[in-house]
Symmetry: C2
C-alpha cells in the first residue's frame, strides 16, 4: 500500500542531501551503510533519517543497514529524479548564465535546454551549448518542448510580469531567485531562493554572539 501522509518539504530537501552523500560513498566502494553512518557527517540524528524514509516505505534490513546502490535508485525514483528533467532559465544575466553551468543541477538529472532574455544583444548567443532565445518566443518553446519548470532569475522589478508570462505559457513550477514574493495562481509550485535572506540571518546570529 502506498503511504500517503503529508511529507514535510524539509524531508524532501534532506532526501536530496542523503542522495548526494550516498553517491559519494558509493564511489568510495561502500556497499552497505547504517542510518548512523549516513547521518554522522550530515549533522542529523539517525532517527531522522529513518523517519524521513519511513514516509515512503521500508528500504533497510534490520540488524544490517541499507544497500547503498539500491537506496540511491530508490530515492531517485521516489523524488522523480530517475529520469532527465528539462528546465529553462529565464533571464540570462550573470546569475542566469552561472546557473546554466551549475553542476549541482545536472548531478540530479536536471537538464537546462534553453535560456531566455529580453536583451537583443544576448539573444542568439549561446553558453556551453545552451542557446539564448528571445523571451517573446518563450511560450512557443515551452509548449513545443513540454517544459514544466522554469528557473527565474530576472531582476526583481521584472519578476512578477515574467512569472505571469510563464503561467500563461502553462509552466507548472518556478524556482525563483528574484528577491520578491510572487503572486501565483493555485496549483503552481514555487520555491524561493532568498540569498539575501540567508546572509541576513547569518548577520543577525553574529550580532547575537557579540
Amino acid at each position: 500500500m502506498v503511504k500517503k501522509q503529508n511529507i514535510p518539504t524539509e524531508t524532501i530537501k534532506r532526501m536530496i542531501a542523503y542522495l548526494r552523500y550516498l553517491e559519494r560513498v558509493k564511489d568510495k566502494g561502500v556497499k552497505i551503510i547504517s542510518s548512523r553512518d549516513i547521518t554522522l557527517l550530515l549533522n542529523i540524528p539517525p532517527a531522522q533519517f529513518r523517519k524521513d524514509l519511513s514516509f515512503f516505505g521500508e528500504f533497510g534490513k534490520r540488524g544490517v543497514g541499507y544497500n547503498v546502490e539500491n537506496l540511491i535508485d530508490t530515492i531517485k525514483k521516489l523524488l522523480g529524479l530517475n529520469k532527465k528533467i528539462k528546465v529553462i532559465v529565464v533571464g540570462a544575466g550573470r546569475l542566469g548564465t552561472a546557473l546554466i553551468q551549475y553542476p549541482g543541477f545536472s548531478e540530479i538529472n536536471i537538464e537546462i535546454i534553453g535560456a531566455f532574455d529580453i536583451n537583443p544583444q544576448k539573444v542568439g548567443q549561446s553558453i556551453k551549448g545552451i542557446n539564448i532565445y528571445n523571451i517573446k518566443d518563450i511560450k512557443k518553446f515551452i509548449t513545443k518542448n513540454n517544459i514544466k519548470i522554469a528557473i527565474l532569475c530576472v531582476p526583481a522589478d521584472a519578476a512578477q510580469s515574467v512569472a505571469d508570462l510563464l503561467i500563461e505559457a502553462k509552466i507548472k513550477s518556478i524556482l525563483n531567485f528574484a528577491p520578491v514574493v510572487l503572486i501565483l495562481p493555485e496549483g503552481i509550485n514555487i520555491a524561493n531562493v532568498d540569498m539575501a535572506g540567508e546572509i541576513g540571518s547569518i548577520i543577525y546570529r553574529m550580532k547575537e554572539q557579540a
Copy 2:
C-alpha cells in the same frame, strides 16, 4: 527590558522580506501601514508579522499601524543591517562572479570588498571594481580588513578544505553555495543555499500532483 527568547531563523528571514517590502511601499509614498496590509502580498497571516516583531519589542501604534520609515530603520537596526557589512567571495567562477554583482546583497547593506580564486588566470582581474586575489593571500586580507563573513562558491570537492582555510583565518560566518555539508567548529555560523535541493523539492511536489 531587552526581550530574549530564542528567535526562529524563519522569523529572521521573514524580517528581511518585510524590510524589502517596506522599502518598496516607502518609495510609493506610504507613511503608515497595518500588519494586514504588509502581509497581504507576502502570503503571511497578519498575526505572524506581529508575532515576529514581538520577539524584539513593540513598534506599532494600536488602532493605527506602523510608521513605515521608522519600522524600516528599526528592522535594520535589529538585524544589524544599519551599517555596511564587508564580506568576501571565495571562488570566482561563474556563480562567484554573479554574486559579486548581485543587487540583493547591496540592497541590504552588504558590500563585497574582494574575491579570491586559485586559478592564476583569474587572479589580478577585476569585476565591477572588485579585485580577484590569489587565495593564498586570503588570510592576510581577512585579518587586515577585519572580515567576518565569507561567501563560499568553490566547487563541491574543494569546499571543505577552503572552509578549513577560512576558519583558520578567523572567519566567523559562511554562506555556503557548495552542495556539501561542511564540518565546522562550534560557534561558526553557517547558512547553506542548496539550489538543487530547492528544485528537487519542486520536482517532487509536481510528481505528487500528477
